[in-house]
């Protein structure tokens, strides 16, 4: 199923590290999978629309993505960060106290934008 025509989301998140003018479209496509489908798979086609694998990205990748979105300074990504926080709690990637701490931090970030 995985081909040369696939994008590895885990390595993309690791490589990009933060959202910039150059990769904003890439992250726009990645967050669609949080906002709409509530799951991110490891591999997608080049357009980042169709999954190319059945396995989900790792917990560490979800957490990394959360931090990237939180520090983006962009309202749309901040909205996705709130949803990703919910997702991480539902998947037991984070505990309840971290969940509420994240909400507090996201709210503070909102007022700084």
């Amino acid at each position: 199923m995985i081909s040369d025509e696939s994008i590895n989301i885990e390595s993309t998140i690791k490589k990009e590290g933060k959202i910039t003018k150059d990769n904003i479209l890439l992250f726009d496509k990645i967050v669609k999978h949080i906002d709409v489908y509530k799951i991110i798979f490891k591999y997608y086609d080049l357009d980042l629309s169709k999954p190319q694998s059945k396995s989900e990205i790792s917990n560490i990748s979800y957490i990394s993505l959360f931090h990237i979105l939180k520090t983006s300074g962009d309202y749309k990504f901040l909205n996705s960060a709130f949803k990703l926080n919910d997702l991480m709690l539902s998947k037991a990637i984070i505990d309840e106290s971290t969940y509420y701490e994240n909400i507090k931090e996201l709210k503070e970030t909102f007022y700084k934008i």
């Binding site: 749309k76 901040l78 996705s80 709130f82 949803k83 996201l106 709210k107």
Partner: protein
Amino acid sequence: MVEFSLIMKNGNLVTDIYLSELIRAGYYPKTIILIHPKTRTVNKKYKILSFLIGKQKANKLFIFNNSKKQYKRRKAFQNVVDVFLPKNIFEIRNLKMTDILNKLNVISIESDNFNSDELINCIKSNIKGVILVGASGILKREILSIPDVKFINIHSGIVPNYKGLDNFFYSLLYNDPLGCSIFYIDEGIDTGKLIFKKKVQLLIDKGKLKEINHKEIHYAIKYYVKSYYKITVFIEYLNDSVKKYPQLDLMNLSSYSQDKNVGRVFYELHPEMEILVIDKIISK
């Protein structure tokens, strides 16, 4: 006379406001397709009623009850909506959908979404021309390719920059003008051929807003105010166009393709963000 049809979901605020405003402005849909959710048929009360008095009478009773509930809910929101809208939309029109619908050509169907076979077949057999839709979600190829039919959407954002959901709020967040766009629907997310777009201004009495909780304000803007602005822009467009072209044909309006690579698609706001947005509006 401008000819168009309307698809409404029973009890849906967006299309209820559309219809009441259109009628007030003198634009009567030729046909209305009223969609009831299929889940109604598994409702116990409905089952008993339809057994006792027949399906047709049970349908009418169910529309009436639903409408009564909606009406009560709307009245409860009146003070919140009044903060934003230039006049009291409830007193002017006394939104009783059953009264309005009884006077129009209404076809009732059961369907769970806008891409169902039930709706597609109903359109094929009953409608030619333009259909105005609201709160429809993405329309798929099958429904969009029905011959002699075009769908028009009124979107609460200035395209191509603002596509998707909650654009009223995102525009406020990014300090961009609020606005509405009218376009023929295609398979993309708000990417159809653009007919008209116009900026609008949110009228706010901040003093009054401080007395209302953020959730209520958000709800009022999202469902009432936004729908009112959208249909008002559409009516303004119709009024201006009819002056120039008395035999306005909605199937062949002047329109142009959008640059699909421009702008962003936004998604529904998280409940925490809904409150933060309102906080920002009030504190501005």
